[in-house]
Amino acid sequence: MKYNAPVALILSAMATCAWAQASSEKSVNVIAIVMFLAFVAVTLGITWWAARRTKTASDFYAAGGGITGFQNGLAIAGDYMSAASFLGIAGLVYTSGFDGLIYAIGFLVGWPIVLVLIAEPLRNLGKYTFADVASFRLQQKPIRILAASGSLVTVIFYLIAQMVGAGKLIELLFGLPYEAAVVIVGVLMTLYVTFGGMIATTWVQLIKAILLLSGASLMAFLVMLQFGFSFENLFAEAVKVHAKANAIMAPGTLVSDPISAISLGIALMFGTAGLPHILMRFFTVKDAVQARRSVFYATGFIGYFYILTFIIGFGAIILLLKNPAYFTDGALIGGANMAAIHLSQALGGDVLLGFISAVAFATILAVVSGLTLAGSSAISHDLYATLVLKGARDEKKEIRASRIATICLGVIAVLLGIVFEKQNVAFMVGLAFCVAASANFPILLLSMYWRKLTTRGAVIGGGLGLFTAVILVVIGPTVWVDTFGNATAIFPYKYPAIFSVSIAFIGIWFFSITDKSAAAASEQAAFDAQFVRSQTGIGAAEASQH
């Protein structure tokens, strides 16, 4: 109950801002504000309920292992269906048709890989973070430092993209100043995670996933209803209206050269299997069977969601382009990313607009909470517990460290959100996937399946992958030219994954096989025991009991 005061403060502050704005600007949607406040009230209620159930480290990091496969599948889908992917992919389909589909497919194809190669061994070997698995038979300290670095870099880039998107969206939808919007998001996510841990974060994610799937389903249904549920009719009408005509039905300018196309493909496909906030979700279920079930449901929900987003993008082409009310000076109000939001108004008036706006906000809140929890777990469970506590188990201290880390991450996210306001942050999600594919994924995969992996190989190879991914993005066109304003890029490709992932795998391989130390020999010898546990789950059960 001790956080009732701040909660009341935020709610009243938001309500005041919103109403003040509403009275001065008629464009603000009252339904959106009411629905959003209802979402905040319900989720804070859940956080209060979850806080009373969060007693152990297992509760805090993994919801006590008590989430079912179906719930976890929905929560994973919730983590993955960010506002960026909902508004971004719908916007991309609206601008260039088929190119939007390329991204949607890329985001989905990692899931069968996660299911078949990663999910079950991950659940059988780990406890709270993927570093548990990577360091299972290797040296704790260096591996955890590296895995935590990979996790934090991924989380921070992802978080910046979401915070900036959130600020802009809320500014536009609710008429709040950008800074206020970013602060509200930061404060709410910190409250959810600090007090409610994984239990609250999971339930916030579940509610949001249901809201988002219902909202998107309704929009896609209303679009298809107008075209007799025929894709051919939908496409035919879109081709007639769109300036690019038939070109929207084929690959366009998004991926122009082969290296970029393959590189983007590698980053999206293998990055999914290295996202710390997604991997963490597998520890919230009872066992490998539930982990497997989670991915099956998650893949179904995510695939279905991308099909909806695709229909929504095409619906936006047809319904928005014909209506000048959505344009100023020939450009869509708020940019292409607002296509889905405008479409909701075109389809269902202010009621649907209000609902979808509130859902978009809820989506952002849920995703940043999941990211923050993953980041704070990397700090407390991997860095603090290994470096400060030096492996001496002390759950109370670890949870306290995690809560402090959450508050710090909240502050950092708000500050970075404000710093990057004017920057193009679209590349940051791509960078997060690239880092995940170049550092986290190779270490995780090889630690589970490759006997010869040694600490030296994992640290040097994984470190090279992480370093290369970040450096090549910085000296590539998106940062060197677009952000720093240089004339030409030092590294010519937008997506470096083909190089950084290869360097990681080759580095890990080379520095492992040439490692002739006694420690390396014992790490390799420990593989058989690890493999028995990873395949059968024997020995894994106590991980979720407390």
Binding site: L115, V116, M249, R293, D528, Q535
Partner: protein, 101 residues
């Protein structure tokens, strides 16, 4: 039961064999389907822009949406196989190992 003994169990050998049998084909099928599309986009984008019949729907659109459904199918096949084949073997090993899982 010692780890060595678990590794000697015929069920353990059967489990790792059965897992290999499904793991690599399904992973490779997904990777192949996706990179076939990506490489076509990279080297021969016009193929994907070819309309089907007299309509405006292109091969690319059908393949693109098809891959989304294909991913769902792959996960379905794996879960079906895992529940029918892998799970009974795992349970048998756990039972012989004497521990409750």
């Amino acid at each position: 039961m010692q780890l060595e003994t678990i590794r000697q169990l015929p069920e353990y050998a059967a489990l790792t064999r059965a897992r290999k049998k499904i793991m690599w084909p399904l992973s490779l099928a997904t990777i192949a389907a996706y990179f076939a599309l990506i490489l076509t986009i990279a080297f021969h984008p016009t193929t994907l822009g070819t309309p089907i019949g007299n309509g405006v729907t292109t091969i690319g659109m059908v393949l693109g949406l098809g891959i989304i459904l294909f991913c769902m199918l792959i996960t379905g096949i794996y879960v079906y196989y895992a529940n029918r084949v892998l799970e009974p073997l795992t349970q048998a090993i756990v039972k012989k190992a004497g521990g409750k899982q």
